[in-house]
Symmetry: C2
Subunit: 329 residues, 2 copies
Amino acid sequence: MPKIVRFYQTGAAEVLKIEELPLVEPGEGEVRLKVAAIGLNRAEVMFRQGQYLEPPVLPSRLGYEAAGVVDAVGPGVSGVKIGDRVSTIPSFSVGAYGVYGESAVVPAYAVASYPEKLTPSQGASIWMQYLTAYGALVEFGQLKASDTVLITAASSSVGLAAIQVVKSIGATAIAVTRGAGKKSFLKEVGADHVIASDEEDLVKVVMDLTGGKGANLVFDPVGGPLLEKLAAAAAPGATIFEYGALAPEPTPFPLFAALGKGLTFRGYTLFEIVRVPEKLARGKQFVYSGLESGLLKPIIDRTFPLASIVEAHKYMESNQQKGKIVVTV
Amino acid sequence: MPKIVRFYQTGAAEVLKIEELPLVEPGEGEVRLKVAAIGLNRAEVMFRQGQYLEPPVLPSRLGYEAAGVVDAVGPGVSGVKIGDRVSTIPSFSVGAYGVYGESAVVPAYAVASYPEKLTPSQGASIWMQYLTAYGALVEFGQLKASDTVLITAASSSVGLAAIQVVKSIGATAIAVTRGAGKKSFLKEVGADHVIASDEEDLVKVVMDLTGGKGANLVFDPVGGPLLEKLAAAAAPGATIFEYGALAPEPTPFPLFAALGKGLTFRGYTLFEIVRVPEKLARGKQFVYSGLESGLLKPIIDRTFPLASIVEAHKYMESNQQKGKIVVTV
């Protein structure tokens, strides 16, 4: 029987249990993967804590991203066959279809092939990060080469993906990280400028870098009091994408900056892309083309074995990582 | 010498003083009006209190909207001549060019003729209200007949203008007013539905009225804790325009609703329209055409003589008005 990760109560990483559960047959419109690698996401930590948009039904599976080989196909599925080497696009209930385990059943529409040159660990590290950044910045933000993009939580997998997406368009990426420890890393991976927000005056540095104009796109998963600073660092007419809620504090709305500069604050999640077929198709094309050219290249920080899933989650919560955390199976 | 309203300190309505000041000659690119009527705006109350986007330089004039006849034209002005019957489009410093008084000098670009059939009081009651509503809802919000628009502070001049703009496009207007006292008035002037927010559950009523979908455009000058309710009453993908800051309390950002529904919060002021010639041209055309057809028709609540400017401001602050407050000169 395959090993599957589930949790019976919300809470700290230790609630994650590895169990041997019967192999599940895929239902109508579903396929089953023999999982080779799992990409971890902050969303799963929040889901485990009961703080995600979707509340868990206990006991619950979890996990959005896996790469593997299709080993069973349910009725009514076309376009996917046994033996296909695929990874999952997060576009389903993270609880009902959680992919943490040796076997995962997912909707057939949620699997996509990944380039031959990528390892399974890389294959499990592309869709969440690149489609999230693509959707906000390119699909909705209409990113162009003359834009300056401020990217917070820049060492996260989505933050790094955003830097690559911005550079692939020829725009300017200003990365924000808390401590100075990750500054040189962020420069190496392509950021034009890096601000250590614990040690530098974010608003002043952005204004200095932009000749007093400010950033015209902001990409932020943090919220909380940081949003006031981001609004102050934004250019007139800028759009601030909020794609997460990592800050434990409430988020004040920067109303006067919004009025004075005509700012747009856009709540955004990947679901706006993956649930609309034509948007998803454009996004996949963008990602495939970037992987092909090498302008998009997944950065994996560290891999853990499945037996260390608790440690892997703890590591994510430690905020030490510089890129994707992957569990190999 | 013409009577002019100025204030020497920020504060309550009583700081407004009527003084006789020398007649001013218009400078380069400016024209002078013999003022017949002044349209009052909430912005001027906030400016008088020192709480507006623009801080006053004391002693300061004030006032955005006047109708009158051009009685002097400065150098370099074309397209405006002595004897023209015009009103002012708020597109200038409210302090430097304040129009409260018997005579006002304003930039030539800020005057526009108004239809013959309108009185000067009506002429002083069109640009702020209709261009503000037009800019958010039509220019940026792309208002269409299938939209449901939630309009707060609906009995204000801009709120009433928004109801008319919404109905002129054939969309659905849900007006929000605090007490029940103005409900029948708001129905009479065209609102499809009216919610008395002090007595009814705003979110529940909007959801009932929209079959559980919510409003897809929201037009709000209040902010503060109301914004959480507006976000809860908004449909997935909705845009919430914030065009003022009337609430004395801080405004929390409804981050979870923003993420869950992909909401856009757009800080907006009329300056985004009047400072961009092609946007202003489209807006003027929209307003002229609506005034012509009668779909837009200024609603004047009450007029005061210039000598009662303090009472007129107090009346605005009492929130009793149902439409524009005008001072006749």
